[in-house]
Symmetry: C2
Subunit: 586 residues, 2 copies
């Protein structure tokens, strides 16, 4: 039972059948065909030699098959993590240099360690602090930056930068020097890929294929673009006219690589590795959960951390780069009928075969084709409608989203995501520090009480029922004092104040002190303080405190009980209260 | 009206009378007598020459009298701010050096600017993020560090350090080298001051003085210790035997000092200045509010920021050090009958006269006497009972308090307070990310619904009423999904799930997406989702969202209405629901 949880492999492997094998194998073939150009392209996006992308698509898939909890997630290099890798390493080293490649290895190893530790200590909940609008804004902005970063490859010019401003400035002066053969190949690939996405699927459906098969085949269009442009380049010797090609890459499988133990480098990459881990985890879990729900399966977020961590450790030690679960690739895997993580393991074998056999052919692959592949892939990440939807629903969420987008575009991906997280937490805290409150009245003829400003309700001059819509804690303790004392000073006829607490989920030590102050000040003004609808856990905590001992009024189970008890003969009960106060002082 | 708010002076000055003048003057004399040794002592604690303390007790008091909103707060150098000043500057410069003194000036100016800006932009609420337990723990720990830092002056040995570990380690090897004449003076002053605090007040009361007069006179005991030990030192020429004395200090009033414009220094001191400002403001406001409440006055926290900011700017430009409202001094001012801030202005004049006339006499004042004064003053800051009380009431608050105390003691004051603030916010967020939830049942015969685990209530198998005790936002959105889906999977007979929302004060964009997912999953399982007791502001927000359009169930004003509507003939309503679902799909 327990072992199955930590090794999900033990769940499906014993029941593995020939029928499942056939489906997993088919899915693996299709995903392999899709993954080859993606691996090369995302390695290029990360500023790494192309074989690094292939290395990151072997061992990680095997390890995820053993430790991952999703049946159909396909891990490997992905666009956003590659951009974040480039941003992290570009500050420190020359892209493509030995130090840069060693940095990518270390990033993968550190991410792997962090993810495994988070899984072991069940810290997956930390990912919850990335709100949906921040993630969605971040991915949209990253998609824009990635697309902009590929334009120079499409145009065959120099350039660089890690944000939109730098990239646009870099391109601006160079447009005149565009290399036309490159532009033709790149634009051709781009148009072909866009057209395939738009028209190929309907066409295939019309030819009699099922919708999902058509969608799946459409996703393999990039390999066709790769094959055709490579053949054209080779045939016309376009590389000699200046078309940039991938060039010779070392054949063979990756060797074991030991990560750097330079403590300074670990410190420099710490924050980047953490962000890559958390963002990758969030993306991966949301893809995994969506697919699992379709087949009524569940994934275990903490085990998912371990699976992704193992995959990243595998990527690092085999000379790869940070990996995570990719959206489009996992959907293809799922649609192609993959039933178990064995499909991922078979994909790893497919990539290994490709690395052994195809590297000579890849030498003539134009870089512009890879750039076109990336641009088309990331265009599906860009979601402006989510921005509009967020703006309409919540200004606070929109603000956090906007900060993420703007900083990612004009400054850096790390600053963008940190600003988004910081701002969304800050706005939440700010909001809870100034809670909404309402004076309640009785909905006539019922036992229900609602806001006097929104409903037609009964009230009484000597009784105020004040509902504070927030837990009472240090950030709003003083606000509560001000709110109550202002209310009391504006109602001279007041004798009873009932604090209605259904929304109070917590009273911390600071708020308890404020309640004591309120109780004392109200007593001095001849007003008794009561509580109603206090929740069980809050009441448990209040038992035995000096606040409860000194409370001038009562605690009522319901507002209606308070209304009845304080309403029947409020004049008499007030006189009794005064009498009892005199008794206390005597 | 508006001007009075920004210049509280305009409120009391026009009504100033001779009777008020007499009371203010008396208070000023007493506070002056108390403030002279305090100014010298806190300057020493801050690592500054004694005259800096006097400079910080003139112009700041005048400016606070004009801009401050408290009638009786007495500003000037205080123990905790002096310790924080020493901690901030000790990292950068040699205590007492020209750079060190310039650093203190800059800290005062920066604090002043920050406070004024926070006041102008009405950011006083930021101080609410310092919880009571963190402040209380910080002050207790600071008191211990301050007392430990003064032991070396009592013993006449060398030593130093900014936390308890360093201070104790510094003293440890030197105990054998204690300078006996210094020890006798220091211990004598200490015993006298402690005895005065304990026995003088009862004695004076027995001699016929009122309690408050006796308490007030008791607070002036330090000046007696100063006079006696100075005379003894002068008479016996103890300074020549090695008793450390204050020494010659420049007479005369302070000149205008321009703060450093070195941008690096501003950056280095930024965080320290911010912490000194915020901690000083929180202390000051709590003293001010306590005293104001006694006379049914109110203070305006935002104006208080401006008042304290002006005082600190005054301190900086007159060569002083950071100042704030002191607790014991303000209580003396209040008890002595001060009625308006004019008492503070008269105190400034008193300190100016002392600076002009008494500086030659101060030269022979033993440093050990000042150390004894400080130790006795800070011993009242140390409050272990608050630690015990917090432990009993709330483990989360205690944890934040403990982190503050431990880090302040063993590392640094800044680390202590930052850890406390960070931890208290983190624990609040953690708690809200895993909210308490309860399944409700009907309290028989009423319209009230409570937790089935705590109360004897009615339930129905096909209906679950789930109350989530927290606002729904990004940090708990996924938790909500898990919570609801687990509940549904354990109850096959379930047909209706009512999400009871009186504690939901906010549904953010992330939680809205989770609600959409929940609605869809429940629909797939044949369960309808309803909401009840949704608050007005939350309901306003939900209007027009696709969640509300797709919601399979209803929104009920009260739980009782949901109970009635879904209970009467639940079988039929479920069949209707299924029929309508079939209708949708058809």
């Amino acid at each position: 039972m327990k072992l199955t949880r930590f090794l999900p492999l033990l769940d499906w492997l014993p029941r593995y059948s020939r029928a499942v094998l056939a489906r997993d194998l088919l899915a693996a073939v299709i995903v392999t065909v899709m993954l080859i150009p993606q691996s090369l392209a995302y390695a290029m996006l990360a500023g790494l030699p192309p074989q690094v992308g292939l290395y990151a698509s072997m061992l990680p898939l095997l390890l995820y098959a053993i430790f991952g909890s999703s049946r159909t997630l396909s891990v490997g290099p992905v666009a956003v993590a590659s951009l974040m890798t480039a941003a992290a390493l570009g500050k420190l080293f020359e892209p493509g240099s030995g130090d840069y490649i060693a940095g990518a290895v270390l990033l993968a190893v550190m991410s792997g360690l962090m993810l495994v530790l988070m899984g072991v200590f069940r810290l997956g909940f930390l990912a919850n602090f990335l709100s949906h609008p921040v993630i969605s804004g971040f991915i949209t902005a990253s998609g824009l930056v990635i697309a902009a970063s590929q334009l120079r490859h499409l145009l065959g010019v120099n350039g660089g930068g890690h944000n939109l401003l730098e990239l646009v400035r870099g391109l601006y002066g160079q447009l005149g020097q565009s290399h036309w053969p490159t532009v033709i190949i790149g634009a051709g690939a781009l148009v072909f890929l866009l057209a395939a996405r738009r028209y190929l699927q309907p066409l295939l459906v019309r030819l009699g294929l099922s919708t999902s098969t058509a969608a799946m085949l459409t996703k393999t269009a990039p390999i066709l673009a790769v094959v055709v442009t490579t053949l054209v380049t080779w045939w016309l010797r376009l590389d000699q006219t200046g078309v940039a090609v991938v060039g010779d890459i070392p054949g063979g499988l990756p060797a074991l690589v030991m990560p750097s133990l330079d403590i300074t480098l670990w410190q420099q990459l710490f924050m980047s590795a953490l962000l890559i881990s958390v963002v990758g985890f969030v993306e991966s879990v949301s893809v995994g959960q969506t697919l699992a729900a379709k087949r009524r399966q569940r994934i275990d977020p903490d085990q998912e951390l371990v699976g992704l961590g193992a995959a990243n450790l595998g990527a690092g030690f085999s000379g790869g780069m940070p990996v995570t679960g990719g959206f489009s690739r996992s959907v293809v895997n799922f649609d192609a009928g993959a039933e178990t993580p064995a499909a991922g393991a078979f994909t790893a074998v497919g990539i290994a075969l490709a690395t052994l056999l195809l590297t000579p052919a890849i030498a003539m692959l134009p870089v512009a084709t890879l750039a076109a592949t990336i641009i088309v892939a990331v265009s599906s990440l860009i979601d402006f409608r989510a921005v509009v939807r967020t703006w309409r629903y919540s200004r606070a969420d929109f603000l956090a989203m906007l900060a993420t987008i703007v900083l990612t575009l004009v400054y850096s991906v790390e600053a963008g995501i940190l600003a988004g997280v910081g701002l969304s937490l800050g706005l939440f805290l700010y909001r809870t520090s100034r809670p909404h409150s309402a004076v309640l009245g009785r909905v006539p003829g019922t036992e229900h009480f609602r806001n006097v400003r929104r409903h037609q309700v009964e009230t009484r001059p000597e009784l105020v029922m004040l509902r504070v819509d927030e837990s009472l804690y240090f950030a709003n303790a003083r606000f509560l004092e001000d709110c109550v004392l202002d209310l009391v000073s504006s109602r001279p006829e007041l004798k009873h104040l009932v604090l209605v607490c259904p929304a109070v989920n917590l009273i911390d030590a600071s708020a308890l002190e404020s309640l004591e102050v309120i109780n004392e000040r109200l007593e001095n003004s001849g007003v008794r303080l009561h509580l109603s609808e206090v929740k069980g856990p809050v009441m448990d905590r209040l038992q035995g405190t000096s606040f409860l001992e000194r409370l001038t009024g009562q605690i009522y189970l319901t507002n209606f009980q308070a209304w009845q008890a304080l309403g029947q003969d409020s004049r008499m009960s007030t006189e009794q209260a005064l009498a009892s106060d005199i008794g206390k002082n005597a």
